[in-house]
Amino acid sequence: MTLALLFTLLLQTPAKAGGDLLAIRVKRAETVAQGPIEHALILVADGKIVEIGEDLPVERGIPVLDRPEWVATPGLVNAHTRAGGERGSGRAFEPHALATLEIDPRNELWEELLELGVTTLALYPDGQGIPGQAIALQPHGKSVQDMLVAAPAYLQVYLQASASSKKALRDAFQKVDEYEDKVAKEREKWEKEQEKKKKASKTSGKKEDEKKEEKKEEPKAEDKKGGAFPQEDEKKDEKKEEKKDEKKTEAFVPPAPDEKVKPFLDLRKKSLTAMMSIRKAADYLHLLDVVEKEKDVQWFLQFPLGDDGDLYEVAQKIGEKKLLVVTAPEITLQTNSLRERNIPAELVRAGAKLALTPRSDTLQGHRDWLPDVGRLIGQGLPREAALAAVTLEAARALGLGEELGSLEKEKAANIVFWSGDPFEPSARVQAVMLGGKFVVEVGKEE
């Protein structure tokens, strides 16, 4: 009773907002955040999930889609892919570059990926070293702008146990140090000048104050104009600037950082995250050697899994740090032996957070994605962790953990409806909802 009451109360707000309400009743909803809900009812409005629960009553007038055989999961998120990207740009050190230019909205691949339940992808720029920043996109839309979910999603960094590789990253942070020193000096200079000015005339100071206020208003207006996914980093930046401004009644405009320095500055400011790609266990230690000094930098770990992989050696260390690791659902062999290692499961057991990508970036790779993950479950990976690995944790890797990745209130209604357990090879996608709209409906096409 109380639930129903609450529900009706909650309902009123979206109803008044005038969105197109739709209720979907399914056999089970794998919410990821709160575990599975049997006989779930999902209420969607304005592209977002408004309510989700077990056997909730629906107010009269709201259309109900009754699909008692479907299983709903959050839309799949591929946190690290080159699918749909152009080949061989071969960059080495262009941390400012975005992968945006590479995508072609007319590529047929997008539609096919969508049909497989993939609703979000992070396209990382091609190259070595520090080739640029990845973007998050949805495989649906008429223009690049339509497809973009977040840009940048993260900074792609490759790190190996080599002097040059480590030096590149060290130097990058050193340049930030230099820049910060420069800013500090400029600020001092500026403050001295201000004092001089104040002494000279107090009237001019007031004028500047007025100008300042105008400036404050502008960014807020931009915020409102922003799309469904306002970028966190911009917001934070603005807030920080505002705070600074408040402290010192007058605006200090720091010199603009070099475009190659800015990404690393953003890393320190936490407005950007880094995806550190490594290959071997030793690389991880060398990565720590460089990155551990940078306490403010938030980073994730990514590695491919091959038969020469010895990452089980550092699984415990990674787990202790509770790192988010992006890897592929692969069973590998221990070096020089035929002993099978389930490294993703070992990482989860050690305490790491896991995001799994398809083993290859091809369409077939995406088709095999969930069955591959299913195999890992069969060999010891906890099912909840596996489900989160293709949805919520992957979304977190893109910095979109608050917006999508699970079936929760206030999250984007990116939902995949399956004919059964998604990890069963026989399971097929029945429908895909992207931003509250059905973009794939198997029955209708037939």
């Binding site: 080599s162 030793a282 060398h286 050697d289 550092v314 032996s337």
Partner: protein
């Protein structure tokens, strides 16, 4: 250093009658500043309350500096050896390694090992690393004869290392100088999980020379792997290239002049006098004469060796001679020069039959050189490490290589030194590794028998007071003569042994040794397999 160390023991009030503090090597070439540094670090660590202890209990400790302590305990504190002896108080929470019935040796040191050992299979062999192996090609086919007056002089064929012209050796000289300016990248490339490193540990190697650097084979971590750098300065000395030898002589003459001028300037301590100019002084020669590096020659023929020995005496430097196949014919001279010889005891080199004098490789080479006072180090024929390497042809058989020298008459103690303290001196790291002594790094190996015996396996390897290799737990040799299971629980035996030793005290040390030997039971007899002594 020794005084400071004993002070440290007094502080800890750990001086027990039974303790035999193995002596620090006297007159060792270890650079004193580095030694002081490490001592400072040690003190700092000592101040920490959470010191980490590691003990190897009950093994026969071969300290590598002469002493053999049977059934003794080796205690390490924060990776450094704190104490070796009997009645050692092992603090609570110490990680213990039961070595009863086993032998404890200092970790072996591999000279000129290929970089695979520290960076894994993907390592690209640099020119520095291949330099060592390239020289091992048998010299016979490359030799030409040049008639110098009436004597035939064997000369390497043109193009090999520049028999004509002065430029090639100069270039080489120069290239090495430049190479030396570079800091070793090993700290940025070290792979502590690579399987070749585990194989090296399985051989007993805990320290390896990797081109110009000396690397500690640490596992699971990358901190503090670089032990030393640039202690060997390669000096060309090739009879086939007389102008090269002349150029070397000139360089040393100039450097010596500079050193004299510098010393004089320092002694006068006159502000009005200018510091002597370094211009035109060869940096390599200068470093050798300043004692910052050892002169490293590659030579095998008698005439070359004689030349090197005399040259070294002229300048008062201790030469390191690699190869040194005919060294036994001029052993006295090399001994007088205080030379180090890096030998490959199984390397074959035929006598040059054009000469009446004795020559060619000899099985007695190491023994005779040792007798003459030359410090002998051993390196195997091939210093690569691999799974496909035939046992005995590569680094996996370093102790067998030394064993071959023993076959030729080298005392066993010298053979052990040839794999431990002598290479450590050659590499300038003898203040840290090379023997088991208080204050040194706790790099030890535990074997199931005489290290020089071909049947012996390394059961455990310890680096910096951490267990890094356990034969039973690694994939490679666990199935070959598995370690016998213990007949009785270890916990029941230990206190008993302590009580016994307490009662009898140090006067009955020998009796206690016997007791210890008996108490460790049958497994010891099995593992020792009668090859003991």
């Amino acid at each position: 250093m020794r005084r400071a160390l004993s002070g440290f023991f007094a502080l800890l009030a750990l001086s027990f009658p039974g303790r035999v503090a193995a002596q620090q090597e006297g007159g060792e070439g270890g650079s004193p500043p580095a030694g002081q540094e490490s001592e400072g670090e040690e003190r700092k660590k000592d101040d920490e309350k959470d010191a980490k202890y590691f003990a190897i209990v009950g093994g026969d400790v071969y300290t590598g500096s002469g002493a053999i302590l049977r059934g003794a305990t080796l205690l390490a504190r924060n990776g450094k050896i704190a104490e070796i002896g009997y009645d050692v108080v092992v603090p609570e929470g110490t990680e213990k390694l039961d070595a009863r019935g086993l032998r404890v040796y200092p970790g072996l040191i591999a000279l000129g090992a290929t970089s695979r050992m520290s960076t894994g299979a993907t390592a690209v062999e640099g020119p520095d690393a291949s330099e060592g192996t390239g020289d091992e090609a048998p010299p016979e086919p490359e030799i030409e004869i040049r008639w110098d007056g009436l004597l035939p002089v064997p000369v390497p064929r043109a193009g090999q290392s520049g028999a004509t012209g002065t430029e090639p050796p100069d270039e080489q000289f120069q290239a090495e100088e430049e190479g030396e300016e570079k800091k070793s990248e090993i700290e940025d490339t070290f792979d502590p999980f690579n399987s070749f490193l585990v194989l090296a540990l399985a051989t007993g190697i805990t320290t390896a020379q990797q081109s110009s650097a000396v690397v500690k084979l640490k596992r699971y971590e990358i901190d503090g792997v670089l032990l030393g750098e640039r202690h060997l300065a390669s000096i060309p000395w090739d009879l086939g290239n007389p102008s090269g030898i002349k150029s070397t002589r000139d360089k040393f003459a100039k450097a010596a002049e500079y050193q004299r001028a510098l010393r004089a300037w320092r002694e006068r301590n006159d502000k009005n006098l200018k510091e002597p100019s370094k211009k035109g002084v060869d940096t390599t020669a200068n470093r050798v004469l300043a004692g910052e590096a050892l002169a490293h020659f590659r030579a095998s023929q008698r005439e070359e060796l004689l030349g090197i020995a005399r040259f070294a005496q002229e300048y008062g430097i201790r030469p390191v001679v690699e190869g040194c196949e005919e060294g036994w014919t001029v052993a006295d001279e090399l001994g007088r020069a205080g030379a180090y010889a890096i030998l490959t005891p199984r390397h074959r080199m035929p006598k040059d039959e054009r000469f009446v004098r004795p020559g060619g490789a000899s099985i007695e080479n190491a023994a005779l050189l040792h007798l003459a006072g030359v410090q002998v180090a051993v390196r195997p024929e091939s210093t690569t490490i691999d799974f496909i390497g035939t046992a005995g042809r590569d680094l996996l058989a370093l102790p067998v290589e030394a064993g071959f020298a023993v076959r030729g008459g080298l005392p066993e103690e010298a053979a052990l030194a040839a794999m431990t303290i002598v290479p450590a001196r050659v590499l300038g790291v003898d203040h840290r590794v090379g023997s088991l002594a208080p204050g040194k790094d706790c790099d030890a190996i535990v074997t199931d028998g005489d290290i020089l015996h071909y049947q012996t396996f390394v059961q455990y390897a310890v680096v910096d007071g951490k267990l890094v290799y356990d034969k039973e737990k690694e994939l490679y040799f666990a199935h070959i003569r598995p370690r016998p299971k213990e007949p009785a629980p270890a916990a029941a035996e230990e206190p008993k042994a302590e009580v016994e030793s307490g009662e009898k005290e140090e006067a009955k040390e020998e009796a206690q040794e016997e007791q210890d030997d008996e108490s460790s039971g049958e497994d010891e007899k099995q593992s020792d397999g009668g090859k003991d002594e």
